[in-house]
């Protein structure tokens, strides 16, 4: 291969890479300071015309719990878990400086003052813009979260293989 051909091949590959128009986010963390940027990225990517899939697993599932649901789970361990770690976008904690809820309250006040959309608004915007939200079936079983505990407008719960299959031709983020 000549230098010119090599250059052309490299250029074509670069252009093909640039055209990746799909984003798959694995939402593992359920903290306010992880879920918030996740939703900002998802809505921004939707605005850019990208196809977006957000796969919610482990702690990441809790933000999808309906805000009016208090206790979840079938056994005492799952119930205790939900008692200690309430789900819903309005009950997210900070990964640091939480101060028993004072940190998130201050963060929300700052966000409101700066007109930064709340996680709840962003989640609704994401749904309006066609962002595909997939809860992880295995985590739901493990943590005792039922479909009716979660918000409307989600896709059918699925497994890791579904998310990975979607990720094959996409940019992926694990947050």
């Amino acid at each position: 291969m000549t230098d010119t051909q090599q250059l052309e091949t490299a250029l074509a590959e670069g252009q093909a890479k640039q055209k990746t128009n799909k984003l798959v986010i694995f939402t593992w963390g359920g903290d306010l300071d992880k879920v918030w940027p996740t939703l900002i990225l998802a809505t921004s990517a939707a605005a850019m015309g990208m196809e977006i899939i957000v796969f919610f697993t482990f702690w990441g599932l809790f933000p999808l719990v309906r805000n009016d649901v208090r206790l979840t789970g079938d056994n005492w361990m799952q119930k205790l878990l939900s008692a200690m770690h309430r789900g819903g976008t309005q009950h997210l904690k900070l990964s640091q400086l939480n101060f028993a809820g004072a940190g998130p309250a201050m963060m929300r006040k700052l966000a409101a003052d700066h007109k930064v959309a709340s996680p709840q608004e962003l989640l609704e915007l994401a749904q309006e813009m066609g962002v595909r939200l997939i809860p992880c079936q295995m985590t739901m079983d493990l943590l005792g979260l039922k479909r009716e505990d979660l918000i409307d407008g989600l896709e059918e719960p699925a497994g890791a293989a579904t998310a990975l299959a979607e990720a094959q031709d996409a940019i992926t983020l694990f947050i």
């Binding site: 921004s44 939707a46 015309g49 700066h114 930064v116």
Partner: protein, 77 residues
């Protein structure tokens, strides 16, 4: 020459990602060739609107700044 339809979107005071998200939703509702003008105050919006325009192919035909208020005009492709 016909005068293109201009829709106005006020994003003053809003922070990232709302200006670009609201713009994308508004542009979706337009017919090709129609214009959208956006007012924003988020300093990050200059870079964001340029990147958004480049990425989506809807040209940013004008952008100006005056007294901390940014004005963008986008043509729907």
């Amino acid at each position: 020459m016909s005068i293109p339809v201009i829709t106005t979107l006020d994003c003053k005071g809003l922070s990232c990602p709302l200006p670009i998200v609201k713009t994308a939703i508004a542009v979706k509702k337009l017919q090709p060739g129609e214009l959208l003008e956006v007012w924003a105050t988020d300093p990050g919006s200059v870079a964001d609107f340029t990147a958004w325009s480049k990425s989506t192919g809807n040209p940013l035909i004008d952008h100006t700044a005056e007294g901390g208020v940014f004005h963008f005009v986008i043509r729907k492709e």
